[in-house]
Symmetry: C2
Subunit: 421 residues, 2 copies
Amino acid sequence: MIDLIAMGQAARQAAPMAARAADAVRCQVLAVIADELLAQQAVLLAANQKDVGDARAAGLSEALVDRLTLTPARLAGMAADVRALTELPDPLGARFDERTLPNGLRIWRQRVPLGVLGVIYESRPNVTIDVAALAVRTGNIAILRGGKETLASNRALVAVVKQALASAGLPAAVVQFIDDPDRRYVSELLRLHQYVDLIIPRGGNTLHQFCRENASIPVITGGIGICHLYVDASADLARALPVISNAKVQRPSVCNALDTVLAHQAVAAEILPRIVAHLGAQGVTFRAEPRALAALGGEAAPASVCPAGPEDFDTEWLSLVLGLKVVDGLDEALAHIAAHSTAHSDGILTQAAEAAERFVAEVDSAAVYVNASTRFTDGAQLGLGAEVAVSTQRLHARGPMGLTELTTYKWVVFGDYAVRD
Amino acid sequence: MIDLIAMGQAARQAAPMAARAADAVRCQVLAVIADELLAQQAVLLAANQKDVGDARAAGLSEALVDRLTLTPARLAGMAADVRALTELPDPLGARFDERTLPNGLRIWRQRVPLGVLGVIYESRPNVTIDVAALAVRTGNIAILRGGKETLASNRALVAVVKQALASAGLPAAVVQFIDDPDRRYVSELLRLHQYVDLIIPRGGNTLHQFCRENASIPVITGGIGICHLYVDASADLARALPVISNAKVQRPSVCNALDTVLAHQAVAAEILPRIVAHLGAQGVTFRAEPRALAALGGEAAPASVCPAGPEDFDTEWLSLVLGLKVVDGLDEALAHIAAHSTAHSDGILTQAAEAAERFVAEVDSAAVYVNASTRFTDGAQLGLGAEVAVSTQRLHARGPMGLTELTTYKWVVFGDYAVRD
């Protein structure tokens, strides 16, 4: 029996201490976490082995088992990521919009932590450490709810975090873990608006939807990407091909991977067969709408090509499948993207400045690309250093959310015994 | 029978047109609204007279009737406010965080409209124009749901807005009005996450709570202020008195009005009687905790003073009532504020730089004041030019929300056929 209200109260009580902790103290917590992930490797791997054994016994797929498995190399990677967070600039305290008003008031906005984050995720034990470290670095409080398949691993990892908090003199309540996989605690957490400021789901579409529909707290939804590249008539086709390949093949299971190529009719007959040849050799299969199919030889198209079904252009493939469509030009490409994109990452390949400009102006996605792979939609790739989520909702933050996106601000006003007229 | 889904679809369809309309076009809409509020004064006042008559017949209090009444002067004020919005800088298009990454990618974030705003308000017809104008100026879409007591007025005002949109060539769906006061449409609007990006309630605590608990869309809650001024031992008491008076008396019915004075024990015996004398003469009554009561002469205190009840320090007075409490010093003041503030507006009156600094660092309210009245928490007062709401939630924006706070951004990435390693 978990008392979520008590957890919320403890979070609120700890929040000022986390918010006011010196940067060096927050970084010290991270350094200890990184050290202990290595020092306590045996304990952590043993706990994880229990989860792995239970998962196998329960008949989970090998892909899922792999996802929840920790290894010495993965622990070392987690430790390195935590340590990297300490090298980023302190996101707190900075002043912005500072000025003196005509009435003499001196005002600015000052960065402060968001407050209490509720993070709901699935069976990836690395998220436990990732979110705990991000929360501590940004002076926030985290209440974690991980998947039931990694309960033993999460307990061991949270023990490391608690030890690190204690060693720096921060309250244990800065990172709290809902130590019961009963799903009712997810629902309860989503209604804890008195204590929780923000819900961050880390997982698939179903989780995001569940959170949005059941939360009385703002939810950062995102991570779902039906991503497009439009090959304009003016594109340098030889150079376009590696970009398309990178966007589709480098890591097909992630949200910023390419789902659909839109080819201008003037270049379709040239680029589409090259895409099919080049990406097909890497294991990609294709869903082609009628004109694309025709450009690929119709019934004589390679075996990797099949006609696109009615849902195919609304599917996030997360695998080596690519939709192909011929468009009359930029207008049709923009219309297709407006109708089918999840507003995550969409790009144009072109040599024409006006086409690029119009694409950038009219495509309203979290990240809009000109002559670049959609795979760059990532906190580290865009120079944020880290990311807690990729937002495709519009409030607060869009695209990769880094340290600054886990802050808010307060207004500070200095007067000389100033009164309002 | 209102089809909210059709309204949502129309909103989404109109959104790109509003977002891409030139600033001059958006300003033209506002100029026409301002002109027509004056030109159509007779029609608007007649419609409003119907509402006023119905309200009187239904036995509404004179305060409520006054709130929904339009007059030539009020229409002129609304027109002036709309026109003032056209003088503010365009909130859209600005680039920020622009830079070139080591891998050659040129990136920036670009301001774009938030999208579709659902605004739910009570019987203040001026909000209809205010929100419509703010939405148009920021390239957003507004779906309005006003109180049932102002239905006729709102219909007439929305007709003016539609006429202005048409005159500038913008779709009528840019500003939509739920033309049926049935409350079920409020609940339906709150679940329209497929089409609506943000809910802004304008009204009392009950409305805010209802929205937060029933929405599947992020809600900007706010507007509830239990505001404090702490009179430090070092404060210039002669100058403190007008600040306290301004914060309490200038407009007691609003959220940034003062609710509680915390007086340092070293100055309580001096400042509290002066507060009671000075503000009492202006009609203020006082709720004093035991030490404050003692400082005011105990049973010999003026008739305007009574002992504070258990809920008094958790009450937003919105009237000429003021809580008084003696604290041992800054620590107790900070603790009281942490326990009782709604994180709206809180201030310190002091000559001591360290006390001011600590107050600013530790009070986590949307607006934190040093030697100034809490009444400055207002978009116009803080130089934003206008405000759509005062947020006391932490996501996206805190305190007064002006034009910029009604925008979000997209990432723009330019490469030279760039691929991710």
